[in-house]
Each structure stands twice: as C-alpha cells, then as structure tokens.
Symmetry: C2
C-alpha cells in the first residue's frame, strides 16, 4: 500500500504514519532549484530528517583511502542541512502540538501540482482535551528564487491560549550514513555562526561552513493576524532566531501567521552583503505578499503545464505519477541558475547532494523540450566548471576537459576511480546535452558563448583518450560505460558512440562558428583529427551471436548464475564483489540499450531487436536509471506490454519506494525516465541529427495519451488515440517533423491526424529470473 | 658512494653518517625469522628507526574507504615495534655516550656472514675528554629461536666511572608513514602493559596489542664482569625494565656485559604462560652461554654456506652482495616456523610487515634448494591459513581457497581490490611453491599432510574462477597478473599458465595419494574437470606481431609515450594515474617474462626471444621484483651482457638503495632475485615437470662462477669456467640432471666436466628511454 491517494493534479497522504515520515518528507519536498525544503511538519517533530538545502552550498571533508594513488581526489563535498526556517511550533494551553501525543481527528498533507504548494490540515486534540484545527500552506517561490513562505492558521474550537514560536535554527542534529569518522565530524554541526540580528518581527542569521568556508544567510519576517492582546517577542543568537507570539483566542477566532523566508549563500560575498541580500529578498516577498506569491506561483505553473503536460486515459495512478514526476523535475531545476541539478534534486541528502551524468542524459532532455531555460542554466553550470574539468584532464594526462563523475562544485569527489574517473562517457553526455539543447532551442548565443567550448574541450579529451590501432580503427580503451557492473573495459559501445557524436558535433560547431573556433585555438588539422577518429570509431560486434558487444570481449565472458542467485540478493552490488560482477555477463542498467536510444541512428532495426533481447535477459536493473530506457527500446522493437511495465517501474520508483531509499531523496533521473518512457517510448520521439521525429504507439491498457513539448519556440501537442495520432500546434510557428518515418508539417490551427502503423513483431524477450518488471495493472483500471 | 667496504664474507660501514642510519639499520638487521632486531646503535640514539619485530605479532586497525564495497577487507594489520631489548646505554663520568657529541676516533659496524653477528667498535672521546673503546657484538640465535644476545665491552683509557643501563623498553615513539588517523592511532603506543617483574639481573615485561589482543613477553638477563665495587640495580614497571651497573674502572681495566634476551608471543597463551616461556628461553641461553651461542651460530652457518654459497671471480662487490643476499634470505626464514616470510623479512616496517606472493615465487625457490626446512615451514604457514583463504573464496563467490594479496595473519589486508583481490595468481604461486618444494625434497609427508590440500583447494578456485567458452577454451577473466600496471584483464598469460600447472599438479597429487584425495572429497569427475580446464587454457597470442599478449587485447592498446615521460617521473605510479597506466602497453615488472621463466616449457625458443624483445622494450622496472627475472630470460635468449646488468641491479637494489626505501627494510624478493639471476640465469637452472636441468653460461666480465644447491638430499656444486662446467657432488647420492639439454649423471667423488655450447644469437633488445639497467662495471674489476 503506497499510502497515496490518487488525484489527477495533486498528491495527498491521509494520516500521519510516523515510520513513513522520512519518505513522505522527500516526496513533499518543495524546491525551485536554488532553495529546497523537505516536507517536514511545521512543528519540527516528529520528523524523519530535517532538510533545508541551498544548491551549491556544501561542506568539504577529506576523502579517506586505505591505499592511495596518484590523482585520487583528496576532498569530498557533502550537501549541508542549512538553517531551518520551516519550523513553526504551537502551544495549546502550554501543551505543544505533537502528533505523537493527544489525538489527531484528521491529518492530511497534499502537494498541489498547479498551485505549487504543500498544504496541511490537522484537527488535533491535546492530551488535556483542547481541540484546534491547524492549516498551513508552504511554498518555495518559483519566481523569486531566494524566497519561501508559509501561511499558518490555527482555529481553536473553544477559548484557548495559543503560543506560536517561529524559528530559524542552524546545526540541527542530523544522522549521517557515513561510517568515516572524518566525514561524520565534518557534518556534525557544520555551520559556524557569523552574525545574528533581530528587530521587530524580523531576524537574520549568517553562518559559514567550517571547512569549505562557504557563507550563507537566512532571514525571516512575519505577518501576524490575531485578536487583540497579542504579546510577541523576537530574539536572535548564534544558531537560533525565534519569534514568539502568545495570545488568547476565543472560540470562533483564529490565529493567522505568514512567515516569509529569505535565503542566500556565496563563496565570495561578505557577511554584511549576504545579510543585505536576504533582507532584500524578504522585502520583495513582503511587497508581493502571500496572495501575490500564490498568484505568481499559479501563473508560472499554468505556463509550465501548457508546454509540459502529459495526459493518459486508463491509468489514473500513472496520470498522477507522471505529473508528480514533471513537477519535481521542474522544481529541481527551474531557478538553479548556473548550479548543478543534483541526482536527488534538493529533496534529500542522498548521494551527498552530488550531481551525476544522468542529469544530462535523463533530466535535461525533459527540460530541453519543456523548460529550456532551465536546461541552459544547468549547462551553464557545466561550462562554469570547465577550469576544474581541464585541470582534472591534465592530472589524468589527457587533453581537453574531463567532467567529474560526482560533484557539487565541479571537482571530482569520487573515491573509487574504476566506477568514476574511468567513466569518461560523462564528458560525452554533457556534450550530448549541449547539442540537444542547442538543437531544441536554436539558442545560438549559448552555443557561441558556452556550448562550443564544451564540445571542443570534450572532443579534445576523446582524441587524447583514444588511439588508432594497426587497422585504422579508433579505440577507446580502459574506460567504464554506464553499466556499473562492468568497469575499465576496452571500446564500450555506448562510450564510443557518444564520443563519435561528440567529435562530430564539435567539428560542426567549429564549422558554424569559425570565429569561436579561432578563439578556442582550434585548427583545421584538429577538426580533421576529430572527424577521422569519429569515422574510425571501433564498435565491437559479435558476428557469431549477431549482437553488439557491450564492450570488447563482453559476450565471451561467463554468464551470471542467475539460478543460483536468490531474489533477496539484489541489488547484487550489496551481496557480490565487484570483481565477480565486472567479469561476467550481468548488466546493472541500460548501457548498450541506452546507446540504442540516444544513438539509435547507429543501429539497424534488426540489430536493435536482437541486442535488446540479448541484453534484456542479462540486465538486473539494480539501478533506478534503467527502466525508462528499457521502456523506450521495448516500445521501439514492438514489445509494448513490456514497455508499459518498464515505464510504470520508472514512474513509480519514488511513489512506491521501489528502491527503499526515498527517505534520502527522490530519484530525479528515474522521474525523468517516466517522461522519457512516455515521450521517447510510446511517443517514439527521437532527435537524431537534429531532426525531431515521432513514432507514437498506444500501449495496451491506455485508451489515449497526449504529451506536449516545445521545439524552437513552437509549443505543440501529440495526441495518441487507438489507430491514429493528432499533431497540434499550441503556440508558435509550424512544426516540421516525421510520423513513423513520413515527413509531416504541422501548421498553427491546422492539426494533422495520421494513422498508426502496426508495431513490428517483437523479439522473444526474457528477463533474468525474479527481475522482470512487475506487470502493470492499474488500480481499478 | 655506497659507504660499504668490500669484503668477501662481511659487510662493513666505517664512520657514522647519521643521515644514513635508518638505511644502515635495515642492512645490519639480525633475524632468525621469528625475532628480528634492526641494526640500531646499542645506546639507542642517534637512531633512524628503532625496530624489534616478532614474526606474526601485529596490531589491527580499521581499513578506511571513501566508497566501500561488498567483500572489501575491513581490518588492516600492521607489524608492531615490540619491546626493545637492544638498548644498552653508557655513561662515562656522567656523560652519556652519544655519537653526535664529543669525538669519535673510530667507529665501525660490520655484519659477518659466517659468524652471524653484528659487531661494532667505537673509540669515543667524551665532550669532557674522557676516552673509551666500546666493542659490542650482537646475535639473534639461528638455533634458539626465542633468543638474542649482546656482548658489550668497554675499555677506558684512564680511571673513570662507568654506568651502564640495559633496558627493555616498550612503546618507543616511532614515526609512521600513514596519513590515516585511525592507522596512526592504532600504532601510537600499541602495547598495553600486562605484567612487569624484576629480580636480580633479570626482568620480564608482558604486553598485549591494544586492538589485535595478541600477547607478547620480553625478558632479559645479564652477566656482568667488572672490577670490584660495582653497584647494580634492577627495576621493572609497565613499559620499562632497567638494569643499571655503576663501577669505577681503572685504566687498563674493562667492563664486560653479556645481555641475554628472550622473546615470545601468543594469541592464545596466558600472561603467566608467556612469562614462563621467555624465562625458559633465557635459562637455555644462559646455559649455552655467549661463547656457546657463538659456536652454535658458526656451526649453523658453516652448514648453510656448504649448501648455499655462490662464488664469482671478477666482481668482488657482486661476490659480497650475493652472500649478503643469501645471508638475509636465510635469516628471514630459518626459524619462522609456520609464520609468513614478510616482503621485508624482519628488517623494517615496510609494507606494514606483510607477506606477498613474491615470497613463494622468489624467496622460496632459493630456500627450497638451500634450506628446504625453511621453505616447508613457510608453506606450512600458508596451509595454516587455509580456513581464512576458504572463507575469502566464499565471500568472493568462488570455490576452494583464495590466498590473500597481503597479510600477516592470513586474512586479506589490501584496501584496493583491482591490484590485490583480482591478483588470483597468488594462489597459483603458492601451489607452484608447494610443487617445487615437494619435488626438490621428495617430502611426501608434507605433501600428504599439507601440500595436497593446498593444491586441491587452489585447483578448485581455478575451475570456479574460469569458464569454458563457445570454442572449448578455458578462460580466466577479470584478473590481475604480476604486472601492476595492468589490472582486471582477461586471460593473463602468466596467470593462466600458473593455473594450468596448478590444476595438473593437483590432479597428479590426487593420483599419487588417493586416500588424501578421498579425505579432501575429491571425485574422479573433479580431477577430470581440472585436466580439461588445464588442457583448454586460453593463451592469447597476437599472430600479426608474432608475440604473446600479456593478456587479451594487450598488444592492441596504445603505446606509452616514453619520449614524453621525464626520467624523474619514474616510478610512474607516483606520477601517473592507474587508469592511464592500465590501458597502455607499459609494464611495471616481469609478467609474461616471468611466465617464460617459471613456465618456460610452454614457449618455444623463438617465442621466448620475440616476446622478450617485445616486452623488455615496454617494461619500466618500477618494481624491485623485476630485474632478477629479466636477467634469467636475457641470459636464456643469449643477451648475456644485458643479463649481467639486470643481475647486478637485483643484487645491489638494497646495498645501493636503488629504490630509495631501504630505510623501511630490505627487499627479500630482490635479494632472492640475485640468486635467481645467478642460478636460473647464468646457471640456466630449471625444474619444469620436476626435472632439474642446467644450461650454464659465464657472463662477460666473470672468469669463474660456482653455486651450490641441494636436491632430494644431495648437495652439489656447479662450477662454471670459460668454455666448461663442472658438476660435483658435495654430499649425498648421485644427481640426475641435464646440461644444455643433454642428460648427465653425476656420481659422488666423480665430478663431471662438460663443455658449454655457444649462446644463441640474441634478439635486438632495447629498453624504454632512461630505463635500461646501469651497465655493470665492477669497481676495479
């Protein structure tokens, strides 16, 4: 039982379930990509894990090694729970509101995808029998990036004294997973107080992180609406600022408090400058006011859903999950502004708050076609880290730039190089996202300013990483592809195809912008080398089996003993050593299959079918990154029922907590995988060589699906019904595309409806024992 | 300038050279394989690094990981500097003897390979002008394993008051290399006092190591010979026991002190039992007396040199180095008695005191043919660790037993699995040593009791590690061979050939001892599987280049940019990342070349010549394990001058401190490499399939060489002169062997002299730039 009530536009949890709090806090997290608040209860306790995050604000700590090596990163980075401004405590006749005591007659929390707010309604009876109704509504502004606000209302059922305490609280005790004493020490009270000030209903606290030295400030202001006779107090000291209001409220009366929060951080700015910044944010928020913030939020989201919504008929729970996914992806990114989009967004401390390659390969495709400014900003972050990526390449003895496996600042933070440093595809993935964004938007300014430089520096990496063999083939040896159950292999197909595209995109960008190429010291010889490397790229193929080798030698390796593997031994990495996983034909996550999605132009339909069958039977999906991609290829080869099951797995990863770690935050790439599964899977959307094309097919079980996208300023909808598809312009100019290979031009006000050809006969596909996706049966569907 | 004076039977350092102390302490270390004393000055200071080691006594500490993984070892082990009994301080009229003050008119230390003692003679004048001659002689008994003794004599040149303080001192401050705070904490005062007792001239201290819980005791007793009027005191407390003697010595008189030391440790025995043990050792030592101990030592060494000596004419420095090497190998092992032979012996704390595979592949061959009981005892240690090796195999999902990469107790202690866990050849190496020892001695009792079980359990490991491919070939994928600049590769030739031999030896042992096979639950099917795997073993060969591939794909990898590598960038692992080393054709140490030595039967002469030329030009010799093996193959393919250079490099690794780390202890495997280079290189000794054969060739520069060995109870000498070789029985029955392929029988009292054929035309061999071995020019030779 998931505990979630099904609604098309909101997500509601009824009741409390203390043991599920940490999980629901992740799901109910609010963010705008700059500031993130986990969905903790207003009163702070009971709680799962408090969490207030500022994108890019981290603490540093030494990375430990039992045996060190040249070029190993020495410093780790971990996201910090910053000053918590969410806390509003209530005392009812000196009895603190605490859901674990007294009696809850009603308790609901709901996340509304259209208002962009988290609402809470509680009817509570204190242990001494006093009854109050508490309503709160919380938002992190999607329009004012430094601002959050909480509307808090208490209605007692009889005359009662109420005291509210509204806090800014730094260095809350937080549990860590790390068993390294140095990491734990770094995260135990990481904030050092620099400044505390309170006046009237307003307070500011400023801190810096002990080791990283990054500075932050948080401020709060309040509007209080109560009966006469209220007595208030505001104090600030070190790690705590507290606004207290005490008042007698008669039956039928109410206490209404609006709390405005302003946040900021900087590596450069002084404490007074940071204080000024958060006070200015507060002033703006108060000027807008609570209702104004609500209205801005609604306008923003109406616009978002106009370009991003996905509708499905026949599976209401999936409908909800898809909007939930889109809402969170948007939230994680929209105001990130040259900061990374972490793997968990700002919903929890999982992965230490690091960003990975899956942002570029899963999250940015969604954004590029829905909120392209957010995709651009995330790529600007990558661009801003180029100096660190160049430095890393140099340490590694390579030319160009090598982007990190995991990072907050842009510096490599992984302590296990075979699964990180060796995963050079990261740099190709970033370039893929650059080319995709530029193509989807036509944003030449970005390409000239940032994109081309990324393409060029990563192309340089590839020519330095690879070499031409005796037969003229261009080999990239000793690298790790997306599949984390293989490492340090020669000629990983995914890596080589991504590198091939990277090299060609770089060459084309230099052709398009010769002045930019000049600025980057690109010579004609260099461009020729890129093209030669791309043309010679080695793509291992097992002629005996008629399938591609995920990497050289893969298909000669021993098969995994799936029959000797118990269902509870998954994920395998927790129960089997890397050495044994690496050398056998067991695949953690889509690797060759991902190559067949993003570089589908490099495979024939027959190869796709054979490869998909071969690799699907060896893929255990121990990663949340996999199901969405498997849905795409399953749909392409005609296995629509299977594709639907994979899609559902991606879509429900977080809501059903399939990996049992949602308590540490949501899986952004898996949420994006749901979009990818719908749009690239059942919609058949591809953008090879910059051409947008579709091949929609309705999965069994759905009577209709529709999705929206933007492409070079045009917003359009693709509406799929049994047997036919309608392409419709929502706004902007005409759309040139393909429908199942046939060129189509869709003009404004002239929707085009086309029939759907029959799907191909799918290959025989089997998953490893116990690893088939759950058969999707919509509740009541 | 090495600082060493050249003598055929001893090693002398004249003068002090405080900055060289730590290095000379390693070279002057005394040991019997159970107890080791670094060659510190009697008075304790100045010092490089104090060091008293008990083989197998270690402290445990957590192994840190930035990113942990299933099956990673959690506990590290580090050799501990135990209670120091070497210290004898002298006060000359209240001025402590300290070589840094006053004036040394003479100071010599010398290690005597025939007496097995370290002698010191110092003429010192105190800052106030008092002059004394101090002579000391120190031994670690080669016959009484728990015993060491020091003969200490002071002769003043005028009437003077002398005070001697003789200590047992625990928890001396020692510097550590570790940058891990947990390791440093574990090694900072690792000993906890359990017991201290003193009576008369005798004292005992008992301690245990804080984390490992291992217990140890040290005891001392004294004989004092002085003028009348001596005043003595003995006290013991916690970490210190001190015997003090004060006496007025007239001009022409002397103070003579004999200090006896007894050591013991146990994981099981109680403190009283340990005390009894070390007191019994002392009683035995005193009963034997100083002169008796000297006589025993001499008898033991006379016997050793009878079977082990190597003579060379024409290079006196090499002559000294070869005896130095043999002396230290013997010392490191002779009374080890079911403990490991660490990589540094008991000469220093390098490698944490761990034993590695090179003990089996380099040190045990020397011992098997000279002190076979020591080889047997070292293999008994491996046998005693089988439960841990089985457990490790099980954690790794394999059958049989997997011996550790590095260990003191037998448990894997490496924190970097690609270079350790994956190096499964370790288990093949152990089996190789078992078969070699059994063959060299005919020790059937050992084979039945221990050897067969090792062979069987490692054979089981191989059949579980490998698999038959579609073509019937038996593949061993994802392993690391000896070359540490490659890792986690498929079908490493060395590994596969060692595994092949392992599988066959196991099968043959089971045929020989069916009752033992029964006891080990070996079935006929299992033996058949071993033979099938051995017969199908994949040995990668590049037909285009006509050379073996070190591992599959090796010859397709990029060449290392040697021209772009500065001489000071070696060793490369300190200046280049593993990822780049692993994926290129750069070899740290003999790997395929080692295979061509120990499995020379698997290669044709032409293959050996081509392979040697190919790999020698890609081998940078960043490991001290390599030169000896390169000498062997260089000699075999006819490159005798080059072989001599490699041999000299192996022989002088420690005396010339070529790797600049002798301060942490000697390199036992490199010392053994000198023997291997002489006996297997210029002697051409091989023992393929149990047949002993020789193919001696005198290198240019030597006018004569002779070496001695034992084989199944027969001791014999091989004397090589220009153009001819004489085989002579020293003791025991006749010897069946081959001379350059021709069968020979050598009978007692009937030496056989045979002529030497011309060497083959060597291939063109070049080393990487800056990595050729130094051209050997004997000083004055």
């Amino acid at each position: 039982m998931s505990g979630w009530e099904i609604h098309p536009w909101l997500l509601r949890w009824d009741g409390l379930a203390v043991d599920q709090l940490r999980r629901t806090e992740s799901v109910f997290a609010l963010s705008n990509g700059h500031l993130g608040l986990r969905g903790t209860l207003d009163e702070g306790e009971p709680r799962g894990l408090p969490g207030t995050y500022l994108n890019g604000f981290y603490e540093a700590h030494a990375l430990p090694y039992g045996e060190s090596g040249y070029g190993y990163p020495e410093a780790g980075e971990t996201v910090v729970n910053v000053t918590d401004g969410k806390v509003i405590r209530l005392l009812v006749e000196d009895e603190p509101l605490d859901m674990r005591y007294g009696r809850a007659h009603a308790h609901q929390r709901e996340l509304d995808f259209r208002t962009g707010t988290l609402r809470r309604r509680t009817e509570w009876e204190s242990p001494t029998g006093r009854r109050v109704t508490v309503r709160s509504e919380r938002l992190v502004s999607l329009t004012q990036r430094a601002v959050a606000a909480i509307h808090y209302e208490v209605v007692p059922s009889e005359d009662v004294q109420l005291v509210v305490q509204s806090d800014l609280l730094a260095n809350e005790p937080v549990e860590h997973d790390s068993d390294d004493p140095r990491v734990a020490a770094a995260l135990n009270e990481p904030l050092v107080s620099d400044f505390a000030h309170a006046v009237d209903y307003r307070a500011v606290l400023a801190h810096h992180a002990r080791n990283s030295g990054l500075r932050m400030a948080a401020a709060m202001d309040h509007e209080l609406e109560v009966e006469d006779g209220v007595r208030t107090e505001m104090r600030a000291e070190g790690d705590l600022a507290r606004f207290t209001a005490a008042v007698d409220v008669p039956a039928g009366g109410r206490l209404r408090l609006v709390k405005y929060l302003g946040y900021g951080w900087s590596a450069q700015r002084s404490v007074p400058a940071l204080r000024a910044q958060v006070e200015a944010a507060l002033a703006g928020a108060r000027q807008t006011g609570w209702e104004g913030l609500l209205a801005e939020q609604r306008r923003f989201l109406d616009d978002f859903w106009e370009v991003a919504d996905i509708e499905v008929h026949g599976d209401d729970e999936l409908q909800q999950a898809l909007r939930f996914a889109l809402f969170h992806i948007m939230q994680a990114a929209v105001r990130g502004e040259t900061r990374a989009i972490p793997g968990k967004g700002l919903t929890g401390p999982g992965y230490d708050g690091h960003a990975f390659w899956d942002t570029e390969m899963f999250v940015l495709p969604v954004l590029a076609y829905t909120v392209p400014e957010a995709a651009r900003d995330a790529l600007r972050w990558r661009h801003s880290t180029l100096p660190k990526a160049r430095e890393r390449a140099e340490v590694l003895g390579q030319a160009g730039a090598a982007f990190p496996w995991r990072s907050i600042s842009g510096a490599e933070c992984s302590a296990y190089w075979p699964a990180s440093t060796a995963a050079f595809h990261v740099s190709g993935d970033v370039s893929h996202a650059v080319a995709q964004y530029v193509n989807a938007t036509g944003d030449t300014a970005f390409e000239r300013e940032c994109g081309a430089e990324i393409l060029v520096e990563t192309a340089r990496l590839w020519t330095s990483l690879g070499h031409h063999d005796q037969h003229g083939g261009f080999r990239v040896d000793g690298v790790t592809g997306p599949d984390e159950y293989s490492a340090v292999v020669d000629n990983n197909v995914y890596t080589n195809l991504i590198a091939q595209k990277n090299l060609r995109e770089a060459a084309e960008a230099c052709d398009r912008h010769p002045d930019v190429a000049d600025r980057l010291d690109v010579t004609a010889d260099e461009v020729a080398d890129w093209r030669k490397a791309a043309d010679g790229m080695v793509i291992p193929f097992d002629t005996l089996l008629g399938v591609h080798e995920q990497a050289e030698g893969f298909t000669s390796h021993a098969e995994w003993d799936f029959d000797g593997t118990d269902p509870d031994e998954y994920p395998l990495l927790l129960n089997r050593p890397y050495f044994d996983l690496y050398r056998k034909q067991v695949v953690k996550q889509a690797d060759l299959v991902l190559a067949m999605h993003v570089r589908g132009d490099a495979f024939t339909p027959l190869q796709k079918a054979r490869n998909f069958a071969y690799y699907d039977s060896r893929t255990v999906r121990d990663s949340s990154l996999s199901a969405g991609t498997q849905a795409v290829l399953a749909a392409e080869v005609g296995a629509l029922r299977l594709a639907y099951d994979y899609l559902a797995e991606a879509a429900f990863t977080d809501l059903h907590d399939l990996h049992r770690n949602v308590h540490n935050g949501l899986h952004m790439a898996s949420l994006a995988g749901a979009w990818v599964g719908m749009v690239a899977g059942f919609g058949g959307m591809r953008d090879h060589d910059g051409e947008l094309s579709f091949a929609p097919r309705l999965p069994p079980g759905l009577s209709r699906m529709a999705f929206r996208m933007g492409f070079r300023g045009t917003r359009f909808a693709v509406e799929v019904e049994p047997g036919s598809v309608t392409y419709r312009i929502v706004s902007g100019g005409p759309l040139h595309t393909r429908h199942h290979g046939v060129p189509v031009v869709v003009s404004p006000d002239e929707p085009v409806t086309l029939s759907t050809p029959d799907p191909p006969e799918p290959p025989q596909v089997r998953q490893p024992p116990h690893r088939a996706p759950a058969r999707r049966t919509p509740p009541g569907g």
